[in-house]
Structure formats: C-alpha cells, structure tokens
C-alpha cells in the first residue's frame, strides 16, 4: 500500500554535464530506466523509498492476516484472503523494482529484519475487532490510493510501472473495506458502536500516513525536482480528508476531531492538529505493535530457511543430472 512520505531527499542540483542532461530528461517527462545514467543521490533516494514501500506492503499483511481465520462469513474470508495476497504481491513488485537499482533482495530483507529499515507507521497499530478490517480497507487503503496515484507518473520507469499495477488492485481493497463499514454502520447498536470505535482509533494514524507537515520538512525537496514526488504531504492529506469525511457522514459516523469543519469559502474540510509526537514515537519503533510485527517477520523468515535451502539443493541436483544426461 503505502509509501509514507518519509523521504525528504537532500540531493543538491547536480550541475555536471550528465546531471544537467538527466534533469532535462526528467523535466521533459521522459522515464529513467535501470541502465540509464542517474545521480547517485537519485538512486539512493529511490532505493530507500521503494524498499520502504515494499516493506510496508509486507508488514501490512500482518494486522489484516490476524483476522482471516475469524472473518464472519466465507465471502468476507475469501475477500480478505485475496486482499492480503495482493499486498504480498505489491511487496514483491516493489522489491523487484528496487532491485533494478542495484540492491539485492537479500540485503533489503536483511535491513527490514534487523530493524534498520522503516515501514509505514500505520501497521504498528493493533486490529482489535472485525470493524478494524473494514476501517483499514476504507481509510488505510484509501490513503494509500491518494499517495500512490501520483507515483504512477514517477520519473523512474520500473517504480511507475509497479505503481500502475498496484493502483489497479487497490480499488477493490478500499471498496471491500467500505462495504464492511457500511454494513456495520447500518447494523445493531453494538455493531454501530464497534465501527465508530474503529474509526476513532484509525482516523489520526491514517492522517499520519501522509508524512510530516510541509512546514516541518526540509527546504529544497529534491524528490519534487526529480519528479519522484508530485504533490506535497499536506496537499495529499487534504485531498484524503475532503474525500473521506463526507463518506463517514453519509454512514452517520463521527470523526474524533472537534475542530473538523467545512470551510464554505475554500471548499475544504479543516481539521485539528496532528500529534506528531505520536508519529515520531511509532516510527522510531515505540508504537503499540512494532516489536510484535518485526518478531513475526523474523519468525517467518527463519521458519522458511529450510525450504529455501532445500529448493536450492534440489535445483543444484537437477542441474547436475541434466549435465550428465547431456554428456
């Protein structure tokens, strides 16, 4: 899902001849491909952003995977299973895109498991009830879509192409979530309370998915100049709020923000201050589920080690057998 706008690239304009030619190509909306010349800072920024995005998809499977066995109906279970499988696929498209920049899959996985790589802060919150699954699809995948649509036009070809595939699949994620939320919001008093509670817990973390406020982020944003990023964090967040608030009101839900009000003059929903202290804490590893998420990934990796070894040993044996046949 989720490229959280964490990356303020700090590359200065490269004024070498190659650097100028590169910027001219980017300005002309040409796509940069793996073997093309590119500034080192552009390569580093992309590796960091794409791999964080990939890690987010993979870790993002955990909070929802938690509910697959407890989905209330077979229809819901099939949809949730398909969604979580999609998120795994998104992670793999993105790892493949990052690898075109000269980093190996093993290095990337190692960075995640060692706790050296970041992933979206949203997945460090727990999924306490079935309503959380609907709310995640509606809000978290909804925020992801807002973030990801501009990335389909990113200057780096493999990333842009991966994002086009991902965006096509996200729409189902959001709709299945909103359907769950709708049914609960129209259900019994307990169901309504359950979905309202989920919205209360997920609303602010969803707004944090867009990353720090523009006023707090670094001055010259190289990501904008390189056309990796097209809109500021605040612009995307506002777009998300404007799209989402009327959907919640339609269902008779309220948002946990007393400052939320519609501004007739601007046509935008104004919202209260975000707790950036909480954001930084969760990102730095101190959210409700950070340790649990990493432990789950490490366990999966370790438990799979014998399978990877056996597959490689089998492939090597087959290779020897084929050589003997050919001789």
């Amino acid at each position: 899902m989720y490229s959280q706008a964490l990356n303020t690239a700090t590359g200065h304009a490269d004024t070498s001849e190659a650097g100028t030619r590169f910027q001219t190509r980017v300005d002309a909306e040409e796509r940069i491909e793996p073997n093309d010349w590119m500034p080192e800072a552009y390569r580093r920024t992309l590796i960091r952003q794409i791999s964080q995005h990939a890690h987010s998809e993979i870790v993002g499977m955990l909070p929802e995977g938690n509910w697959i066995t407890r989905a209330p109906t077979l229809r819901r279970k099939a949809a949730l299973l398909a969604k979580v499988q999609d998120e795994g696929g998104h992670g793999l498209y993105l790892y493949a895109a990052a690898e075109t920049l000269g980093v190996t899959r093993e290095e990337l996985v190692e960075q995640l498991l060692a706790g050296r790589a970041k992933y979206s802060s949203i997945f460090n919150y727990p999924t306490l009830s079935w309503a959380d699954i609907g709310t995640i699809g509606w809000l978290v995948d909804g925020a992801a879509i807002m973030n990801q649509i501009p990335l389909c036009r990113c200057s780096y070809g493999p990333y842009a192409r991966a994002m086009i595939r991902i965006c096509k699949e996200e729409s189902f994620h959001q709709r299945q979530g909103f359907e769950i939320v709708t049914i609960l919001a129209r259900g019994s008093a307990e169901q309504k309370a359950m979905v309202q509670d989920a919205l209360n817990r997920w609303w602010w973390p969803s707004l944090m998915m867009f990353g720090p406020s523009d006023s707090q982020s670094q001055h010259s944003d190289a990501s904008m100049r390189w056309k990796i990023k097209r809109f500021t964090n605040d612009a995307l967040r506002q777009k998300f709020v404007d799209a989402t608030v009327p959907q919640g009101h339609y269902l008779g839900l309220t948002f946990p923000d007393p400052a939320l009000r519609y501004n007739e003059a601007t046509g935008h929903w104004e919202f209260g201050a975000i707790d950036w202290e909480e954001f930084r804490r969760v990102l730095a590893g101190d959210g409700p589920c950070n340790r649990e998420r990493l432990a789950a990934r490490r366990r999966a990796h370790d438990d799979g080690a014998w399978v990877r070894e056996a597959a490689l040993a089998f492939a090597a044996k087959q290779g020897v057998a084929r050589q003997r046949e050919a001789a």
């Binding site: 491909e33 073997n35 093309d36 010349w37 398909a82 499988q85 999609d86 696929g89 793999l92 498209y93 493949a96 895109a97 690898e99 190996t104 899959r105 093993e106 192409r161 991966a162 699949e169 080690a305 990877r308 070894e309 597959a311 490689l312 089998f314 492939a315 087959q318």
Partner: protein, 95 residues
C-alpha cells in the same frame, strides 16, 4: 552460515492470443518450475495472461543506453527506407 541467494528470473506474459510476450517484472526462485509458479502467483492474479515465460536474469544481454546514438545511427540516416522518401505523381491516388 550465510544464506545462498535465490536466483532472479525475468517474467514475460502474453496477455491475449495474437500479442507478443511482454516483460512484466521479475521473481526469485530456485529453479525454472518454481519461477513459473511464482510468476503465476505474483503477476496473474486477475487473468492477466495466457502464457508465461521465465528467463534467468543473468541470461539477458542488454545494450548500453549510453551507446544508443551510435547504435541506432544507421537507422536515423537512411531515410530512403521510408515510403515517404519517394515521389509519386498526385494523379496516382493510392500506393
């Protein structure tokens, strides 16, 4: 013990009959059979393909983008390869 890395495969998919296979991405797999299965799971969850090719990434030889001017110059300078290079009298309608 350091783990051995699992080989990388490039994935090509034919979306419909009549179309050529097209590059869609890559997967890691120990052998060709597993690469095909992984490619099926990763790249065709919604009927995107009728046929898949997987090719070891190391088997691909690519041209160097910085050579492109030199490499493709012969095509650029031979304008007589295009039909518009030739003059046909206006009275002759279609040719």
């Amino acid at each position: 013990m350091a783990e051995r890395s699992t080989p990388l495969w490039e994935v090509f998919i034919r979306a419909r009959t009549g179309l050529a296979h097209r590059h869609v991405g890559s997967v890691h797999a120990a052998d060709a059979t597993m690469a095909l299965q992984a490619a099926r799971d990763v790249y065709t969850r919604r009927g995107e393909g009728l046929s898949i090719w997987v090719v070891p990434s190391v088997a691909i030889t690519a041209s160097d983008p910085s050579d492109k001017d030199m490499l493709f110059e012969p095509a650029a300078s031979k304008i007589y390869r295009h039909p518009t290079f030739y003059e046909v009298p206006d009275e002759v309608d279609n040719m």
